[in-house]
């Protein structure tokens, strides 16, 4: 397993959990501190719960966990730290997870800053930083993807933004003088932003390429 070696917890009480975001098929939660191995169990608030209990283990270096849910159900999270041999210590009841309803679509405001001062001499690309807003407190898990026309087909940037991260992402290599699309998916659906990257003569240290002619071949 990843996450480094086991460290003995200083206390037998588990770090407390908070629900950070919920989607149609999952709930994402965060623990208050990184402390030892923590077992998290998701229990449906129904009588036939035995058949549907799911769990995950947060390892020493994890703060964020995710469990699959069914949108039409209410659940309760229970959690405990694990001793070195894997036995549970004290169990604590965590937050409830409620029936998920689609909150509808809201457009996000995406700000794009071309990092012109980070331009590397002689290259044909530029880094840029993308930042965006959150619609409400629980709108904190995002997925982003970016595609430029001059990239080879099959090449694009994609990443998921965890609830403990900033609402921003830096993309290192955007081709100059290109049309790109940035797609952001959050709790309130998908927002598409189409934008242009700067041309070479917009950048202080950029030297334009000489005009390219095709080779001329001659028959004698």
């Amino acid at each position: 397993m990843d996450g480094g070696p086991y460290r003995k917890p200083a206390t037998s009480l588990p770090p407390s959990l908070t629900v950070r975001c919920q989607s149609v098929d999952s709930v994402t939660f965060m623990r208050s501190s990184k402390e030892g191995w923590q077992l998290v169990v998701l229990i449906p608030q129904e009588k036939d719960f035995e058949r549907a209990v799911t769990f995950t283990i947060l390892e020493s270096s994890d703060t964020i966990g995710q469990l699959n849910t069914t949108p039409s159900r209410n659940y309760t999270l229970w959690t405990t730290l694990l001793d070195k041999d894997g036995t549970p210590l004290l169990w604590q009841r965590g937050p409830d997870v409620y029936v998920w309803t689609n909150p509808g679509h809201v457009n996000y405001e995406v700000k794009i800053e071309m990092l012109l001062h980070h331009y590397k001499n002689g290259t044909r690309y530029i880094p840029a930083e993308f930042t965006w807003n959150a619609i409400d407190e629980s709108d904190s898990c995002f997925s982003v993807v970016n595609k430029c026309n001059n990239d080879t087909q099959g090449v694009f940037f994609s990443d998921s933004i965890q609830p403990d991260g900033n609402r921003s992402v830096v993309i290192e290599r955007l081709p100059l003088d290109d049309v790109c699309v940035f797609m952001l998916t959050g709790k309130y659906g998908q927002t598409l932003v189409k934008y242009r990257t700067p041309q070479c003569y917009d950048i202080q240290d950029c030297v334009p390429l000489p005009e390219q002619f095709s080779n001329v071949s001659m028959k004698v």
Partner: protein, 102 residues
Amino acid sequence: KRGNLKFKRDDNEKETTLIDLGVEYFPRYIEKKFCANLCPPLYRCQESVYNLTILKKKGSPDRDDEVMMHLDMPRDLKNHYVAIRKPVTIGCICTRDFIEYH
């Protein structure tokens, strides 16, 4: 003599579009080109297609995906995923068949 003429016009290919298949697919995002059907008379526009192999979580909603039956999968993948085939358009060619009589 029989053959066909093919050429490529840049304005015949529209911009590449990203498709979000959803969280239950890997890769989640794929790209498609769309053809603008800008071919001269007597030519027809032909799409070039490549079939991608995509993983889909078992138990996720059926969306008329074409499941690949004859594909060797490692067991750890087979327990949680099925492999599906996704055709993507990778280019547009103007083409014309001809037959020459001598």
